[in-house]
């Protein structure tokens, strides 16, 4: 499965990019996160939520191929 991933705020600082695409065999959000944790060591120390297709999802959610975003704590207003 081909997945487009967006990074924001402190996460984008760690990944050093705001967006990337990955080829993935896994089925769940948690499997994608395992790969990203290996790729970006410092991710483990950061608090973040995951959105799929612009909705927050749990890590047990199945990947649909829609856009994934890693969102650090919100700071609007």
């Amino acid at each position: 499965m081909h997945i487009n991933i967006k990074y924001f705020g402190q996460i984008a600082e760690i990944t050093n990019t705001e967006e990337e695409s990955l080829e993935l065999n896994g089925r769940l959000v948690s499997e994608l996160l395992e790969i990203l944790n290996q790729k970006y060591n410092k991710l483990k120390s950061i608090d973040f939520q995951v959105a799929q297709n612009q909705e927050l999802v749990s890590i047990e959610t199945e990947l649909t191929g829609a856009e994934i975003a890693l969102l650090p704590p919100f700071a609007g207003g």
Partner: protein
């Protein structure tokens, strides 16, 4: 007529007092309104470990944020008897003392606007993916978290 069109919420840089004043002026033609209420979020010069915040640089997951702003609007109109409602949030750099969030609600009666404004501001803080980089005077930074 209720004002429910999707609008652009984000503005580059600080929200000026001219812009805010002009928004109030524009409502003088809507004479069913009896009460306005306004929330202005201002960048605070917090002192953290001896360093002072001089600005916040805002970024957002804009597609999702606009969707969330739209949902907040819809639920506010469903919950409260509002004549109209406007939300503006800054992107980019906003200096300490400048305005980064402007929420403006109007209704025929006053009680509604007090409740509606709090509901909307709290929902924005909790649900909208906006991120803030607090820039210190020495140009170092840390990431803001809403409490």
């Amino acid at each position: 007529m209720k004002d429910k069109k999707p609008k652009s919420v984000f503005k580059e840089g600080a929200i000026t007092s001219d812009f805010i004043g002009n928004s109030i002026y524009k409502h003088q033609t809507k004479t069913s309104i009896g009460a306005h209420n306004i929330f202005l979020g201002q960048v605070r010069a917090d002192e953290i470990d001896g360093k002072t915040v001089s600005a916040i640089e805002y970024t957002a997951y804009e597609d999702m944020a606009n969707q969330k702003f739209h949902e907040i609007r819809e639920s506010a109109f469903a919950k409260f008897d509002l004549t109209c409602m406007h939300i503006y949030h800054s992107l980019g750099t906003v200096k300490a003392g400048e305005i980064c969030l402007f929420v403006f609600v109007s209704s025929p009666r006053r009680k509604v606007v007090f409740e509606a404004l709090e509901f909307i501001v709290e929902a924005i803080k909790a649900d909208v993916p906006v991120f803030g980089k607090e820039i210190f005077e020495d140009e170092s930074h840390q990431w803001k978290v809403n409490s």
